[in-house]
Amino acid sequence: MAILQAINPTLTAGWHRPDARDLTRDTGWRLKDYEARDGYQALRRLFGDKLTQDQVIAEVKASALRGRGGAGFPTGLKWSFMPKNCSGDKYIVCNTDEGEPGTFKDRDLIRLDPHAVIEGMIIAGFAMGATRGYNYIHGEVFELYQRFEEAIEEARAAGYLGKNILGSGFDFDLFAHQGWGAYICGEETALLESIEGKKGQPRYKPPFPANVGLYGRPTTINNTESLASIPYILRRGGQAFLDLGKPNNGGTKLFSVSGHVNKPGNYEVPMGTPFAKLLEMCGGMRGGRKLKAVIPGGSSAPVLPGDVMMECTLDYDSIAQAGSMLGSGAVIVMDETVCMVKALERLSWFYYEESCGQCTPCREGTGWLYKVIHRIEHGRGRPEDLELLDDVAKKIMGRTICALGDAAALPVISFVKHFRSEFEYHVEHKKCLVPLDVQKAGSTFHTRLMAGATC
């Protein structure tokens, strides 16, 4: 944890969950606790110093904060796309529809520090002249949706939300919207459809949400962690945030580590931290087994062989160079007990199940991918199947309205590329290269319960 002590964590500073199983024992998430750790000081500074919208956006640009939802798009630049001189409603939407397998950071953010997200949204609202904000919260964490609503009530009662916030003349209100089980709603335009009370099917872009968003009005959608990073940037300055990370990759970031490590959990480290260091912080590999593969940025990111990953640092550029994506910072660690065909079969089922069905290549293609991988896994694979998988995957890519098509294709292409011999073994021998009892030993129930560090 040396890095953590050295960098004075920003996102997780107030986190306190004495019992991971029991939400009611969490402390530190209430307004008074947040205020005690300089909460809402950024907002007060903004009004006190009479910062302009442009000054706030410039500060965010200087921070090199890049969107934490997966795409890594510069947040300040995104904010500057919102039209300035238009009358009527404008919206700021927070995307807490966290359903990318492997990702569980936003859940802890709204669980343990909801006011940081609220303050970030108010500042974003000010910077873009928004009148209202919505936080779209993943349906499966319904108890945290309720908590977020409670936090909103606290903020409203304290004068941080509503009319004339802190006497500044700025009006802004904020509400929570619940999802109810649809991965696709993490896609920003599907999310907007969902807030409008429709099925969550992505929209064509252009027009982009900055021009035609929620209810047809200018809208900016940011990830929860991006918004939770904003108060620090306004309190300490964009440069201070940038200095926490590395050039072009400002700040610290939450990495959700799951799978075969001794202490799965969220870890806040500076951008650019070596993966080997993160693995060490997670207590190393479970059972001392050998690292086989890592999916570094959520299930949609291409898988990397363990030895390649061990050479990477955790930032957008290093992981991209290695052939994958930092994505949401969801690091799925797999050891030598994993059958890569079985692992891919499960992921492919997920994309098939969650395809919204709007685009034919995705609707039909995800079914094909699953079907072919399923038959390989179950000893009915054909020699031509590997080429077929590659062909189907590449026919989906780039031919769909949203990125779910690519997200379904990339794991397939990368699993087959890096672990081809395992797929070939399956086809030839009609069984797993990794014996079943070995597989079972690897994915057994946790033996070190509650060891998970949440910083």
Partner: protein
């Protein structure tokens, strides 16, 4: 069809959105209706649509798109287990198998006494706490070892 308390909760949801956008509350309204009625019959969906002033089909589209709405009766306790890859690496599938064996049912089945329904879920965004399951769509249970599963089943009596 729905109780006064549920209607009041729906009204609170409607108030979150601009005055001409009551349809935005349909997801919450269907969730509330499901909580009261146990599941969403077609007539319940139609009632919600009418209450919000939207076409029945539009509400049905929502009810059939999002997978936590139950459009068929379920047991008193619906347990949804995440078996996606990150959870599976930490025992998610074993947890599901253990539940299947304890309850004597497979996924998408209900025990003969109507107490339990078992569902397979997709990522719940809690992979670090695997195995993870949801009880009646709203209560998340984490680190579900056999002992914890036994405790849960005991609580659900």
């Amino acid at each position: 069809m729905l109780s006064e308390a549920t209607l009041q909760s729906i009204d609170r949801e409607v108030a979150k959105y601009p005055a001409d956008q009551s349809q935005s509350a349909v997801m919450a309204a269907l969730r509330l209706a499901q909580a009261e009625r146990g599941w969403l019959a077609d007539e319940t969906i139609a009632f919600v649509a009418k209450y919000l002033g939207m076409p029945e089909m539009a509400a049905y589209e929502v009810a059939s798109f999002y997978n936590m709405y139950d459009r068929a009766p379920v047991g008193k306790h619906k347990i949804t287990v995440c078996t996606n890859l990150p959870c599976a690496l930490s025992g998610g599938v074993h947890a599901a198998d253990y539940l299947k064996q304890k309850l004597g049912i497979d996924f998408n089945e209900t025990t003969p006494d109507g107490r339990f329904t078992l569902k397979e879920g997709e990522c719940m965004g809690a992979c670090g706490d695997a195995p993870v399951m949801l009880v009646n769509s709203v209560h998340m249970r984490c680190f579900m070892t056999p002992e914890e599963i036994d405790r849960l089943l005991e609580e659900c009596k």
